[in-house]
Symmetry: C2
Subunit: 763 residues, 2 copies
């Protein structure tokens, strides 16, 4: 077991690392040539412009003003200064709700920590049960934990009462937060300006019809069943292939630019490349010519594909975005069942246009359920068979374990610094490497499951990742770590005994989790703020690709919150805090530092760096809430298991009440608040409709929605086309084919199948 | 353990009992004076009239035609003759769906039985593992079961394959049935004639408003938020007190009639009664005068209460039945969220008027969640602490157990007949007595939980009863019975080992369940058809209360299906069949007899006896389906436990696939079919609306809905009032106050607050 000194060393190393990162960040962020790495949000907003435009040549790249270095930590108060309402305006509600998770962590754990240290630590310290035990060596940390209390002691009442107090406080904080966020969300939705998704519903599984095309079928169905509200619709093309071509073309164009730049700088020698994989082998050719040719070829291919998608009926998917004349009509359609066969005409709120995940729109119902079954089984195997390597690493992390397996290493390991290093660092880092690989796999799995929006995909991936972390990091560390310490005892028990075993071994794993919090939490946050990868990528791109300001704009990689991977990690800290709050209070300050530091850094990043990919209005909060509740229930069960082995059986009925009450509390919250995060109430829709009708009586909603849900591949074209049209318009003497097409605006080329139906608002 | 001979004796006793009941039924049903007990459904339909009107005096009471007695079993083919469509017409879809549960049982278990006997019984019989065991006595039945196979035998593959075959067959049958019923339900709803609930939505938790009454508030809210569809509404009064008064008055009137009849028959002596409880003590008074006075008093009280309910704003509940101009409007309102606070303005489909459970309509949201928490805890205690007495009875049912506890009884018990009787009968009867008490308690609990319709109450009570039967009858019998046979082994195991223990002891409990099936199933059905209680009650009423034909009508007690108590019992047989299909196939024929016999009897009862209390269109089917699936999953888990103790560990992965697939199948079915049982699709609503508009363009829907959702206490009054009005109308020379009230039809006295809103259809 690691002693307090080991932990101290690990903490020192981690704090030093974090400080080093912070200093590096403080220096780098002040350099003008890094401006687009550390403040991309402002560039995207158009508020900040490149510093290269003004000032002396050196000042463009390096900040020589020493006074700014002295105040190198002043980003911290700056990050806290922006008020919440302004922040919502600046970065969207999703971001604000996300950083409120950290605030909630502080709100829950600051009082819990204070109470723990005031009540439980003295109770544990004076327990003195461990002083009499000889056969196992215990560390100082264990003396502060519940392990130090003798079995059947009356002191357990203190822990029991505290478990109640902590649970009630956490529930109270959760309730207040949910209430706050629900009203914030409703207020946000109500004050939002007009958005296409407010009027639009995504319809999937349009049944095939022998006589009609998908487009006609959709139109007729909604004309009949929503006669007073239906406005228009937009069919969905299977443009996945086209999107791939566009991407390839873009990458080739990047290479072309790269070689052109190279040639410009050194015009003596024309750059050459090889035709094979990544230009590593194959025939040597002139690079600029080669890429120009390739792009030419690809452009033609793209044009053919574009034509095919638009004209081929097989490229039309049985899905459509149906728009309504009012928000009320859309709200009704999204919330009701359309057809007597509940697997046809499935309606749901359309995601924001930028939030749509186009590839998933065409999966039929039966295939969807089969895909989800397969993915559930795959997730099971992924979750439970990933444990084997972790178990191996965990065994290494235990000094005694290594000495048993590899006795010849003993002299090296027994050196004090090496020992502390192994115990403090290794387990955390090994786990971390595993975890870096994972989110991408999980996101792919979610994509296979066929969710139609990026926000939905992120929510689902987060759920999978949470399960993984729970099983592998939390339970895996508690139980498998045990397997090497108490191997004999463990093997003779049945698998059903595991919860109890976990309850017993849990206090012993506190030191491991403390190091984990430092390595994964503290250093992770410090790495986050330094943004090493975007920094390097940006400078590479800048050196080789950037010619114009627009290029520089594209070279920026602001990144985003990445809810799918970051939220489950936060949940792990919530769980650790809740589980150990009663058992090993010494862990709590580490959690507090994590939440506080993360809050600060994330707030800074949201203000200055991250770009929003979509705006779901904090729709993920019910998930966050549910997972914290799960953490609480697990903490209750483990505490119950722990106490039952401590001979405090009379407390069992009292402890069973806790999870029951917690689950009931969750149900109550779910009923009370969750609908606000899922549905759009008719009353609010009606209010917004009425208001809009009064303020903008001449609004042409049809025009507004016309191209909102066009596939992004076609979007550029429409812009181009419209520019072309505008040019033609200014020269009315040249009537062209294009203009004649324009004269029937209801049938633009790229799929905006707009049908006239009944009277319109503007009439 | 009971031998085959014991089972044979028990079967003989039970079959004799059943035959005796059937003969008694055959004789009794042919007597004209029992006609209203055995054929009340036809009287209620108005098709059959009392046989007392015609024929000779003796023939009125006793059937002397011997030829009818010879064909005393001809009710059986008669019961099967009515085709299903006619049956739906005659008894409603609920009844037909209910008897289809038995048909499904036959459909699932006939092939399973055949296969079991063809494959598993020979495999088990030739296992010969039990012949070598000396320390435990096994019966002949065990030799036909899986117990007869030696551990680690390859013969288990037969059982494994059969488990797969049975599961797939059961799933196939379930799928077909669900598909059938979904289309039957949709067809039923589509072909249904106009009903008030199609246009009406129940709104609960209307928020209080300082300036407006509940009625005004409801009207304004729906005028604003459903402007094109809102028609009218009906507020809900708290008339629980009034209903109680009406009931008391009715019972007093019965007593008055009783004494009047007595006096008429024997006019020499005026009957007297005592004023105390049930007329047992207190002052002796003249009965007729006393009851006349009491009724007089009560009538006054009732009139005051009636006035108070109508005028007191506190008697108005924050709930209302809101009616719409079209089915489409109602479907939309029922399926959408109205207000941004999801606990206010809760809308749901209005139940049929006769299905409304009025007392529950006013429970506020928070109180509701607390009530449900308390009831959940109460259900837990009821379910798990009821086991103690059953365990005691079970111990008695075991000969060896009794002999150990009470050794002096040995000579009596060892007598062959007594032994068989104890082993065959006692456990079943003891359980049965428990179970008779239960449904009433569970129904009361559901009422406390605040469900608003009788159908909902029955569904919830069925769920509770199912849980109870599962834990106490099924698991209780398997595990507690074990406690006396394997006490030492059991106590040394941990509580988590129970599933495995259950898997081991399950085959040994087969004989107990066979006797249970006979006593509870077979005899239960025979008792059902004899209708002893209604027979006695009817003749008592007939002797003392009946004067007119209308009285006789009221004396009939047709009863109903009683879904809440009968469906969970059927589920128990499904579960027994599924669990023992692989383990002890000899149990299956007993299940088959139960399903076949029940199907026959229930069909007869539905055609001739039961009255429908409500028509939910088979809305309970998803519950039935889910519970059969639960039975299948439990059977898989128990089989897994059994095989793991038999050393067939290599089969574990194969067996784990089964419950996963079954649960996935359930999810698929739920998504595919359940919405058809919960919601009303807009397409269907629109079709019916359009059809109605075409066929009845002049329909006044407002008039049609005016009094549909008036509290039953006020309903009689409205009829009376209208009769009075009609009388006045025919005499136009006498203008009265009443007629002046009639001139404002929008505000009838008893709460039909009808507001005019926009244009009406008939305009």
């Amino acid at each position: 077991m690691a002693s307090l000194a080991d932990i101290g060393l690990a903490a020192a190393i981690n704090i030093l690392t974090a400080v080093a990162f912070l200093v590096a960040f403080a220096i780098l962020r002040l350099q003008p040539f890094n401006d687009r790495v550390y403040f991309p949000k402002w560039y995207l907003k158009g508020i900040r412009s490149s510093p290269t435009h003004s000032g002396a040549a050196v000042n463009k790249f390096v900040n020589l003003d020493c006074s700014t270095y002295i105040r190198f930590l002043n980003w911290m108060p700056a990050a806290l200064r922006m008020p919440e309402l302004e922040l919502i305006d600046h970065a969207g509600l999703d971001s604000v709700v996300f950083i409120r998770i950290f605030r909630l962590g502080l709100k829950i754990f600051v009082p819990i920590t204070l109470l723990s240290f005031a009540v439980l630590v003295p109770v544990n310290m004076t327990g003195r049960s461990l002083e009499n035990v000889k056969d196992v060596t215990f560390s100082d940390i264990d003396k502060l934990s519940i392990s130090n209390i003798a079995p059947e002691s009356d002191r357990f009442w203190a822990h029991l009462v505290m478990a109640y107090v902590f649970t009630f406080w956490a529930c109270y904080a959760l309730y207040k937060e949910y209430e706050n966020l629900a009203s914030m969300r409703l207020h946000f939705l109500a004050s939002q300006s007009r958005r296409p998704d407010q009027f639009t519903v995504l319809v999937r599984n349009v049944p095939p019809d022998a006589d009609e095309s998908v487009s006609e079928h959709v139109e007729h169905f909604f004309c009949v069943n929503h006669p007073d509200h239906y406005l228009s619709h937009q069919i969905v093309y299977n443009a996945n292939n086209l999107a791939r071509l566009v991407d390839t073309k873009k990458s080739l164009q990047n290479w072309l630019v790269y070689y052109q730049n190279k040639y410009e700088r050194n015009s003596a020698k024309r750059p050459s490349t090889k035709t094979g994989f990544c230009g590593l082998w194959g025939k040597t050719v002139d690079a600029i010519e080669y890429y120009t040719d390739e792009i030419e070829k690809l452009s033609k291919e793209e044009a053919t594909e574009r034509e095919r998608v638009v004209s081929d009926p097989k490229a039309i998917m049985p899905a459509a975005f149906v728009s309504f004349k009012s928000r009320w009509g859309a709200a009704v359609c999204a919330q009701t069942q359309q057809s007597s066969n509940p697997t046809l005409w499935l309606t749901e709120w359309a995601p924001e246009p930028r939030d749509v995940y186009w590839s998933s729109l065409a999966i039929p119902f039966v295939e969807l359920t089969i895909r989800r079954l397969i993915m559930a089984v795959a997730l099971f195997f992924l979750t439970f068979f990933f444990m084997i390597p972790i178990a191996f690493v965990q065994s290494l992390a235990n000094i005694e374990g290594i000495e048993k397996v590899l006795p010849f290493l003993k002299p090296i390991i027994e050196q004090k610094v090496v020992k502390s290093f192994i115990q403090g660092f290794l387990p955390g880092i090994a786990l971390k490497i595993f975890l870096i690989l994972l989110p991408t796999i999980l996101m792919t799995m979610s994509k296979i499951e066929g969710y139609t929006s990026l926000s939905g995909l992120e929510k689902r991936s987060a759920g999978k990742y949470y399960l993984f972390l729970l099983v592998n990091v939390f339970f895996g560390s508690i139980i498998t770590g045990t397997a090497f310490e108490q191997l004999n005892k463990f093997m003779s028990q049945s698998a059903n005994e595991l919860p109890r075993t976990a309850g017993v071994t849990m206090p012993m794993k506190a030191t491991f989790f403390i190091t984990y919090i430092m390595v994964d939490g503290w250093s992770g946050v410090a790495v986050e703020i330094l943004r090493l990868k975007p920094l390097i990528v940006y400078h590479l791109k800048n050196a080789f690709l950037v010619k114009t300001d627009q290029d520089r704009e594209q070279a920026m990689d602001p990144g985003s919150i990445e809810f799918a991977s970051s939220e489950p990690r936060i949940q792990l800290y919530f769980m650790l805090g809740l589980v150990y709050s009663v058992v090993t209070p010494i862990l709590l300050p580490f959690i507090l530092v994590f939440f506080g530091f993360s809050y600060l850094v994330l707030r800074h990043q949201i203000i200055n760096v991250y770009n929003q990919q979509y705006e779901s209005g904090g729709a993920f909060w019910p998930d966050v809430h549910r997972r914290i509740i799960i953490g609480m229930v697990i903490s209750h069960i483990l505490f119950l298991g722990l106490l039952s082995t401590k001979g405090a059986a009379q407390s069992t009925p009292l402890l069973i009440v806790l999870p029951v009450l917690t689950i009931w509390f969750h149900k109550y919250c779910k009923n009370r608040f969750e609908p606000a995060f899922v549905q759009f109430p008719l009353q609010d829709a009606m209010v917004k409709d009425t208001l809009e009708r009064a303020t903008e009586p001449n609004l042409n909603i049809r025009l507004y929605l016309r191209d909102a849900y066009v596939h992004p591949c076609f979007k550029d074209d429409i812009v181009e086309q419209q520019v072309a049209i505008d040019e033609e318009e200014s020269n009315p003497l040249v009537p062209t084919k294009r203009q004649s097409r324009r004269s029937t605006p209801g049938h633009s080329k790229y799929g905006s199948e707009i049908s006239s139906n009944g009277s319109e608002r503007e009439v």
